[in-house]
Symmetry: C2
Subunit: 252 residues, 2 copies
Amino acid sequence: MEHVAGTDAANPTDGGDRPDPGGRPGKSEQTRSLILETALRLFRERGYDKTTMRAIAQESGVSVGNAYYYFGSKEHLIHGFYDRLTHEHITRSRQELRGVRDFGDRLQVVLSVWLEVAEPYHAFAVQFFRNAADPESPLSPFSAESYPIREQVTELFADVLRGSSLRIDDELAELLPELLWLHLMGIVLFWVYDRSPERAKSRAFVARTTPMVERVITLSRYKVFRPLVRDAERLIRDYIVPEGTTPPEQRG
Amino acid sequence: MEHVAGTDAANPTDGGDRPDPGGRPGKSEQTRSLILETALRLFRERGYDKTTMRAIAQESGVSVGNAYYYFGSKEHLIHGFYDRLTHEHITRSRQELRGVRDFGDRLQVVLSVWLEVAEPYHAFAVQFFRNAADPESPLSPFSAESYPIREQVTELFADVLRGSSLRIDDELAELLPELLWLHLMGIVLFWVYDRSPERAKSRAFVARTTPMVERVITLSRYKVFRPLVRDAERLIRDYIVPEGTTPPEQRG
């Protein structure tokens, strides 16, 4: 689908994919948003596997070619959804982190904001999770295709650390943002299967685990802990989140 | 389906569900085994969701009523499969543990044996995993229905610890078997998605993580670690593997 998404000839020339000076989204951005909303609704209603690009275009009131211009495939739609969720997560987290210095409080902010921005999509996530659980699926948060999103969220966790009063040394500072991202993935898994009203259990789980994470980090400064930190780093690189995962070409 | 599995009238009276004195399985045990083998083959060929009890009975050459006598539902068949796998895992592990005293070596034995006994079912596991990933599914290893199996494997891990030269105190000795079982669940997840030939990557993963587990246990004896151990224990009880999960009624 690369040839469709990447065709310059199909690119609207009005620059409409950027917000206009008044801050309102341009027409192109509106169309893109409409297709994404429609797709998410159809995925919820019919299931991800059974929803075709043709149906998404039809329900959005655009041509199939136009839908493919914005999203090269259904997988691109999911990545469009991930992008939006990530953007909201990061923007809101950065706002709420202002003036917060305690590491535990900062971590709590970022994890709680994730639960809040993801909440409207819970029903979809449950239905969709089967497709994203396989680490080799492009839809998995561990895939090469998800690298840009993973990188942004990891950078947010680096900020959580840097802006805190917690003292950590260089070796740990490099590994920790990724470990915190893995911790978030654990919370996502817990949340996907959480049947409590408005995911109260997930929120309690975050509140319970955050001080534990802080404690582990504090303990990891002890010298006796160091060989374990190094082993963990190598293990993560070799098996879980390979370093230098080639980011896929930028998507339109 | 309880009324079917539990109906005494349907119980063969020849005591055929126990091995005869010569050590060969009785006729009833043979039928049970045949139904289970057939079901596993059909699950592999047609998928778990699309395979009916009727089809399993038909392919096994038994009546539908007879199939239901041995396995009250498809879920009971999966538990029959879990039982068999667990029995083989435990029996072979106990044989290979004889004379091994080093904790790391003992852990390595138990995890490696699991990979060996599970290997023939890898293709099925991949297909089936979607049904077992939900912790509230009776097919999940975390469910109340899986309690008897979880308990047996946890007991095996208690043996791994007791028979080793590793010194651990009482508080930790109570929590550790369950943590080791959770570690095995992590390896199962890794294994399900492992595409390497004959799951070479999973075996390497076990070899890499075993010394790390040993290191964590050694470190956890330090006093400074204790509050974390207690938090972890409470977290596991409250959210992951609740204590006093009521075991379901014994299955025929």
